[in-house]
Amino acid sequence: MIRLLLWVLGGTLLGGIVHLATVLILPSLATQDAYSRLAPIAPVNAVTPLPPPTAETAAIPFLDPAFAISVCRYDLTEGPIKLSVPVSPAYTSVSFYTRSEVAYYAINDRAAGRRVIELDLMTNEQRGDLPGDEEVTAADRLIVESPTLTGLILIKALAPEAGMLPAARSALAGARCQVQHPQ
């Protein structure tokens, strides 16, 4: 009887470990996560406008239909990326996600404080390779460090009224996301 209880207790403890392990591993095994859903429609290191979400089709769930949304699926292997997004009249934001959809950085037009949001995206290592003086002269450059080599940039422009969606979309048409120094 005691032996049976011990086996049950051992199984329960092991169950706890299984639970924690599966929760931690699940994000890396997911095949229907946002990155996997966007990979077929979004080429690497280019800005792709997402089709507006409708009841029948949506690139990913829970998109805000009041926004024009473009996405840049980035890969920093070849070097840092330069991102420039002209701000729309209402509200524009840029959000950065790692390969496993961790939102590590987001900025809106007011925080950027300019007519064009300009950012350099690089890994911690690539930032270390920046020449020292360049960092000084480019003090006004906004540098974002990506924790992973690949990931997603979500660029959004609000259409405060439904009729302003084309204007928001055309503002995003000027967005650029490309490798700085192709090697």
Partner: protein, 192 residues
């Protein structure tokens, strides 16, 4: 023989408890750090690098991209103020004011995060589209049948959820109570 049976028993229990708990955690929405105000709950930490493993697993499973904390914050409501689950066949009133934000949007989704088809192609309101009363408050009528004023159609689906997204807002990680963030009330009225 006893050793083998015991090991089998222990492994079965481990698999059952472990996988069962994981399934429960990621389907029932048990992320940490939720801020609940009235019928609304937000998880501001989900939009940061400090997201907890449970929320990461849920995000990976659903396929959504959480709103980044530098962008805004999203509040979800699956029930009304009395705790009844939101039913698309009922008439529901969303009323009051919202916390300070440059813009907000209210959007209606089905439980999987898809928009709901309807004849007027209305899936939500932005703060600028809403018709307001003279004191600045607003009322959105949510239901299957057309209403004057701000009507948000449900298409008659059984279950839906509302997402209130605040953009460029001081509401976030530090928000604790409804005094800092006055949220609109949700009242389900006439159900067939």
């Amino acid at each position: 023989m006893r050793l083998l049976l015991g090991t089998l028993l222990a492994l079965t229990i481990a698999a059952g408890i472990g996988l069962g708990a994981t399934w429960f955690a990621i389907t029932q929405g048990t992320a940490y750090g939720g801020v609940t105000i009235g019928a609304w709950t937000a998880w501001p930490r989900v939009g940061t690098a400090g997201i907890d493993p449970y929320a990461r697993a849920m995000v990976a499973r659903s396929g959504e991209l959480p709103v980044g904390s530098g962008d805004g914050v999203a509040f979800y409501a699956r029930g009304d103020d009395a705790g009844r689950p939101l039913d698309g066949r009922c008439d529901t009133a969303l009323e009051g004011i919202t916390p300070q934000a440059r813009y907000f949007t209210v959007t209606l989704y089905d439980p999987e995060g898809k928009l709901v088809a309807n004849a007027v192609s209305r899936q939500g309101f932005t703060s600028q589209e809403l018709m307001r009363r003279t004191d600045g408050t607003f009322e959105i009528m949510i239901g299957p049948r057309a209403r004057p004023g701000n009507w948000l159609p449900t298409g008659g689906i059984e279950r839906y959820l509302l997402v209130l997204r605040l953009y460029d807002t001081p509401i976030g990680l530090a928000t604790r109570s409804g005094r800092e963030a006055p949220m609109p009330t949700i009242a389900q009225k006439a159900c067939p």
